[in-house]
């Protein structure tokens, strides 16, 4: 079933923001897809009034000094790696992200063997490393 096309410039940006806000939740793992940190993974720790997501990795970005990111510049991963109540602690953030990375590597190795499809090696996942040309122009 096709979706209705959005009007150019979006019909209702406030409503769109509310929807995106409802979908990205505190405690979820996200990967940056634009900006100088493209490819880095973070945990969502909160929201700013301007609608941007606050993200932290417990290292370069602590939970005290989270990085604001536009939701549209993030990949959101569907698996959960921590209880949202723990995101106030940098150590827990680091541990959750470590679990996430371990899972990603394990998926790389085992993913398709487990599905019994030997032909499918390699697992879809966010590309690692700064891929600068992934940036969308005029989005921010």
């Amino acid at each position: 079933m096709p979706d209705e096309a959005g009007m150019p410039g979006r019909v209702n940006p406030t409503r769109d923001k509310q929807i995106e806000r409802a979908r990205v939740r505190v405690g979820q793992v996200v990967t940056s897809r634009a900006g100088r940190d493209a490819g880095r993974s973070y945990l969502v720790v909160g929201w700013r009034e301007d609608g941007r997501v606050l993200v932290a990795d417990g290292e370069s970005r602590s939970v005290k000094r989270p990085k604001p990111k536009n939701v549209r510049h993030l990949w959101v991963h569907s698996m959960w790696y921590t209880d949202p109540v723990w995101v106030a602690d940098d150590r827990h953030v680091r541990e959750a992200l470590a679990r996430f990375r371990r899972d990603q590597e394990a998926e790389d190795k085992a993913g398709d063997a487990r599905e019994g499809r030997a032909t499918e090696n390699g697992t879809p996942r966010a590309r690692k490393g700064g891929e600068r040309d992934g940036r969308e122009s005029g989005d921010d």
Binding site: M1, R33, V76, E107, E115, R127
Partner: protein, 250 residues
């Protein structure tokens, strides 16, 4: 917001896609002159439930049936009714299944009995447009590369693409980001990443691209009353290839 799927989530989406394809095949078998679209809808719902799934469209934003059945000049979102199919009609079946929490979504347009050569050609072009759209959906390319592949081919054949409705990301929700329009110049929009799942769905009009939505607030028809066709598949982007989740092997 684009949601990337893990390999095991993609495996679940593959099961949902295959169930969708099997259910659609059941409905297709029942297409013949004299059958009503309401009867086809009942067959669809039964087939979907037999697969262990739930009809994804039923109640979606208030849609009153299990599948969208769009005859002739109806572009998409046709509501099943007591309309009887006649020889020479074309009918689009758009079917969605929720299985294990994931959506499968696909559409095909079928001939009813013998159809005119011009209807035949419209179906062939729309099918080829879908194939070209899928061929353009590769990790590393961009969303509008799909759009361009579809639009440039369709317009070169003398037809037009519908702009008011678009393909879409799909996963735990039927309509996820990114939107996948069937028009637009290439090299724009989000880059396609491994783990993305898209519903690619060209809607092709024989005449002009203008459509209107009837007073039931669903049924979209061509303004000029000419035929419209619709083909759709759900595809998953892998690092080295693109898997069509809604096609049965063989």
């Amino acid at each position: 917001m684009i949601v990337l799927k893990t390999a095991s989530e993609l495996a679940a989406m593959r099961r949902a896609g295959q169930a969708t394809a099997r259910a659609l095949a059941r409905v297709a078998e029942a297409i013949r002159p004299g059958v009503t679209t309401r009867e086809l809808d009942a067959i669809a719902e039964e087939a979907i439930r037999k697969e262990g799934g739930v009809p994804a469209f039923k109640g979606y934003r208030g849609f009153p049936a299990s599948v969208c059945l769009s005859v002739n000049e109806v572009v998409v979102h046709g509501i099943p009714s007591d309309r009887r199919l006649e020889p020479g009609d074309i009918i689009s079946i758009d079917i969605g299944v929720i299985l294990e929490g994931f959506y499968g979504d696909m559409a095909r347009t079928f001939p009813v009995g013998a159809i005119s050569p011009r209807a035949e050609r419209l179906l062939a072009v729309t099918w080829e447009a879908l194939e070209r759209g899928i061929a353009a959906a590769r990790a590393g390319s961009r969303v509008s590369d799909i759009s361009w592949a579809i639009q440039s081919y369709v317009e070169a054949q003398g037809y037009s693409v519908v702009k008011e409705f678009v393909g879409h990301g799909i996963g735990r929700e039927m309509h996820e980001d990114p939107p996948v329009p069937n028009y637009g110049r290439p090299g724009r929009g989000p880059r396609l990443e491994p783990g993305m799942v898209l519903a690619i769905e060209p809607m092709v009009n024989e005449g002009r691209d203008k459509i209107k939505v009837l007073s039931d607030r669903w049924t979209a028809v061509t303004v000029d009353g000419k035929l419209s066709a619709h083909f759709e598949d759900t595809v998953a982007i892998w690092p080295d290839r693109t898997e069509i989740l809604t096609r049965l092997p063989g």
